[in-house]
């Protein structure tokens, strides 16, 4: 299929429909409104369910219900709305329900602003829900990857029976880029555990996250941990470029990684050997990939549209092996390649003193 020019939010919605999304539940919030609007217009044409819920709380609980009943379901929101969804995300993780949550993030805290930011890294990877749980977090760097990751997100959610979040910064949501859609529907996953109203022909199913017996609850958590270990083993994704000879490794995710790439081009042209590691999964985080590709560099500079969140994971990855510095803008302000170039040179001067 040929490429078409699409706005990120609309590409995300169309990719979900292409992947066989059967139900969408959302609540208006900027900068992701086009996802819900697109679903309202087109999902019904594919016999899907669209509901504009009364709140983000209700929307995620509708996803919980639809997923529990066997549907391929999703919701989308932005920063303060994702905060409200944390209750349902924890319940989905506890009850082991597949489902997709799109977070088109904006600046915070509080009502913050409506312009792009990456200050929800901790919200996405640590979550605000209760309990020992993880959400798989995919971080696209543009419209094409956002569309691809919707499909991948449903696949992972159903393979592991776990909620998956696609964390797209507001830039992706609002910009237009050429995108090639995978239009083959994802195969239907067998869901023998679903409470779909068929207790007449098989033993009854119960979808639940309550375990009043402490030993049962500990066993459940041990079972979940084994699943998370398997995900960490199998599903880590990161792009590594120009790190072989790098004296400086830059680490960035999402759209800002492309600004960082421009900076690397400029620095290389000036003879500064700089490489990039771009995590594509934020959980599981590419600890090993970062560790393996930064052994010979002088320092790492983590670049984020936040006051510094992913940088702590980078430090965990490398320990004392190499210094880790941070450069960030936030609140809707976006760094220019020249700022990154300046930050690298300044740090390089400091390191060689």
């Amino acid at each position: 299929m040929s490429k078409q020019l699409m706005k990120g939010n609309e590409a995300i919605a169309q990719a979900a429909i292409n992947a066989g999304c059967e139900a969408f539940f959302g609540y208006p919030i900027t900068p992701q409104n086009e996802i819900g609007e697109y679903m309202a217009k087109y999902l019904a044409k594919y016999n899907g369910v669209f509901i504009q819920a009364e709140s983000e709380l209700a929307a995620i609980n509708m996803v919980y219900g639809a997923a529990a009943a066997g549907a391929r379901a999703m919701t989308s929101s932005s920063s303060p709305g994702i905060a409200l969804k944390q209750e349902g995300i924890s319940y989905m993780a506890g009850a082991e329900l597949p489902g997709l949550i799109v977070s088109v993030s904006r600046g915070g805290p509080g009502l913050g602003g409506i312009l792009p930011a990456q200050s929800d890294y901790n919200q996405a990877t640590r979550g605000g829900g209760n309990g020992d749980y993880h959400v798989i977090v995919l971080a696209p760097n543009g419209v094409q990857e956002a569309a691809d990751m919707m499909r991948q997100g449903f696949e992972l959610a159903e393979r592991y029976r776990n909620p998956v979040m696609v964390l797209a910064d507001g830039i992706i949501g609002q910009m237009m880029e050429p995108v090639e859609m995978n239009v083959r529907p994802l195969a239907k996953t067998d869901k023998p555990w679903a409470s779909d109203g068929n207790s007449g022909i098989r033993p009854r199913n119960v979808v639940n996250s309550l375990f009043l017996n402490p030993q049962d609850l500990e066993n459940h958590n041990i079972h979940l941990k084994a699943k998370y270990d398997a995900i960490e083993q199998n599903e880590v994704m990161a792009e590594v470029s120009q790190c072989e000879d790098a004296e400086v490794v830059l680490i960035a995710y999402g759209t800002p990684s492309r600004i960082v790439k421009s900076a690397i081009g400029q620095l290389r042209a000036e003879g500064v050997r700089v490489g990039l590691i771009r995590p594509k999964t934020l959980w599981p985080f590419p600890h090993e990939i970062i560790k393996a590709n930064t052994q010979k560099c002088k320092f790492i500079l983590t670049c984020e549209l936040s006051m510094g969140q992913m940088v702590y994971d980078v430090r965990l990855a490398v320990g004392n092996q190499v210094p880790v510095y941070f450069y960030g803008r936030t609140g809707g302000m976006i760094f220019e390649p020249s700022e990154i170039v300046g930050a690298v040179k300044k740090q390089l001067a400091g390191e060689t003193q």
Binding site: E54, G65, A66, A69, A73, S195, S199, R204, V206, L210
Partner: protein, 248 residues
């Protein structure tokens, strides 16, 4: 030998977790009998809520989903829209439905969701040890209204059936109780009708059942039945508050 009375197949063999004297068990049985008698049990999906009936997914002999506190109508919406021809019902207490879940219940009714809500009103938070609920009667003593509910500062009890009857999307709303054989029979008729309303795709139905919490109220089981009759029914009158089908 003729079998005159037996356990309904609508309930599992799991022992109830309810306190002696509590009428949750009667209500469970009525719901189960209605589903079975209407031939809907094997295709039903129960949504359990949070509160004393949190374990109801263990008791109803059909598929079940446990929901977060107050969110059962939203969960039921997700289920029903996925399977429009299955029978979907929530079983919620008054803390769950009339306090933390007011948004979800009002909006489910507002959308005219074709689900059935069994709303058990015992005027108190039973599971957590007897705190004041939005439905707690004026001057009623609870652990968080130790001097009696003061309507000047704590508001007057909310009447959910009356409220939801005003929502255009609701189709059938009735308040019943289960304090004697006659009221139990009436309650069963109401619950059965609510499931028929759903079966016939008429929209949102809710049966509010005035139920005892003799432990939370500090009364004997017999006294608790009297509390419903003499204190609750005068404030929460029994009857049909909405019947869209009857209007036709």
């Amino acid at each position: 030998m003729t079998v005159l009375f037996k356990k309904t197949r609508g309930l599992t063999d799991a022992p109830f977790t309810y306190c002696p004297g509590c009428t949750h068990g009667i209500i469970h049985r009525l719901v189960a009998e209605c589903l079975d008698e209407l031939g809907l049990l094997d295709e039903a999906i129960a949504i359990a809520s949070v509160g004393c009936s949190v374990m109801s997914y263990e008791f109803f002999n059909c598929d079940a989903i446990q929901a977060a506190h107050g969110r059962a109508p939203a969960v039921a919406t997700g289920v029903k829209r996925t399977h429009p021809n299955k029978t979907v019902f929530t079983y919620q207490g008054d803390g769950d439905l009339a306090s933390i879940g007011t948004g979800e219940i009002v909006q489910a009714a507002h959308r005219g969701e074709n689900i059935t809500v069994i709303f058990v009103n015992n005027a108190i938070y039973g599971m957590t040890g007897g705190q004041m609920a939005p439905t707690t009667l004026p001057n009623q003593i609870t652990t968080t209204s130790p001097y009696g509910r003061n309507v000047a500062t704590q508001g007057e009890p909310i009447r959910m059936s009356e409220l939801l009857a005003t929502v255009p999307g609701s189709a059938y709303i009735e308040r019943v109780t289960v304090i004697d054989p006659a009221s139990v029979r009436k309650a069963k008729k109401a619950i059965k009708h609510a499931f028929e309303v759903q079966r016939d795709h008429q929209g949102f139905s809710m049966i509010e059942v005035l139920s005892t919490c003799n432990i939370g109220w500090g009364l004997s089981p017999i006294e608790a039945l009297g509390f419903i009759k003499n204190r609750m029914i005068p404030y929460y009158p029994l009857g049909v508050f909405k019947d869209k089908g009857a209007l036709k």
